[in-house]
Amino acid sequence: MVKKGVIVYSFGDASGVLFYNTYTDESIIVDVSECVVTHDTSSDYPTIKSVSESIKSVLISKGFLTSD
């Protein structure tokens, strides 16, 4: 699950998926092959549909995702 204050954004040209923590100002751009994000029009925020295990553990350790 995405931590509070983290922006998740998938660039329009599929050049990457941005995770930006607005509390710590740390950010990471993940390859689209490792993380798929969908944008449901009913919500302002995108949903993470899938993420590879290796990237998931990086995102958790860097404080972008919670471990559940």
């Binding site: 922006i7 954004y9 660039f11 751009i29």
Partner: protein, 293 residues
Amino acid sequence: MTSSFVLDCAPFAFNVETSFSYVRDVAKCIYGNRFVESTEFEGYVDYNVSVLNTTGLRRMFKPQARFLSEGQEPFKPLDKSQGYALLEWGLNWVVATHEFSYVIVHSAVLAKGDKAVILPAPSGSGKSTLTAYLSHHGWRLLSDEMALISPATCRVTPFVRPVCLKNNAIELVKAWFPDVYLSPVAPKTHKGDIVHMQPSVYSVSASQEPAEVVGVVFPKYDPSCFLDIYQLDKAACFKGLTHNAFNHNLMGEVGVRTMLDIVEKSACFEIHYNDMNEVSAFLDEVVRGKVDV
């Protein structure tokens, strides 16, 4: 003995107090009718700054210039001959550290009409020489140092101030534009020899007209390259832009989303160049939306 004047430099007005008559004289030449005596200024003053002589006996045998703003002194004193440069750097500091009504990117901004290109670049990339040239060849200068972007928009507000030129660029610009006012050289600053070049009349006359960002172009002077153009993907452009951003972190989510919006809506390139006319032609295509992507 100090004197005071106001630099009415939209979108801000700075009241400047100085002990150095030469700082006042240079400011008057650079800012023209935007230089107003404090006693005659009737508008709202946003910030008070001072460039003063250092304290104590030192002022007599080795005078130095200090920059102060409302009780804060962000820089070490410099030699008196660098006093004007200190004022201009000080004004940059005041805006960068106090202004959060704009997302601020360290970059030049040039426009044709109401279409602007942001040129983020670190010191030493040749950005200011390029800006100086283009601002006298059909482009209006919105800023040499900082893009003031209104949050949640792609709109950039002009902040027209002198172009800061270093070392070899000084002689180049003197040769290109012998009639344009340059400040006296500030020798041996941490950036080398420095002058400040008066912005073009056209840029100043349009200084209250914002523009929409349609391009983000990272320039790099390379004597071996006529003009090499590299299209950037959005992720790379975002990285480069945030690397040059001052304050988006303090603005939280809206700061980041503003940068994302700019990147998505703009043509994004990196250019290596040695020919300024070629750069001008390329940027012209960018603002007209005619670049083949």
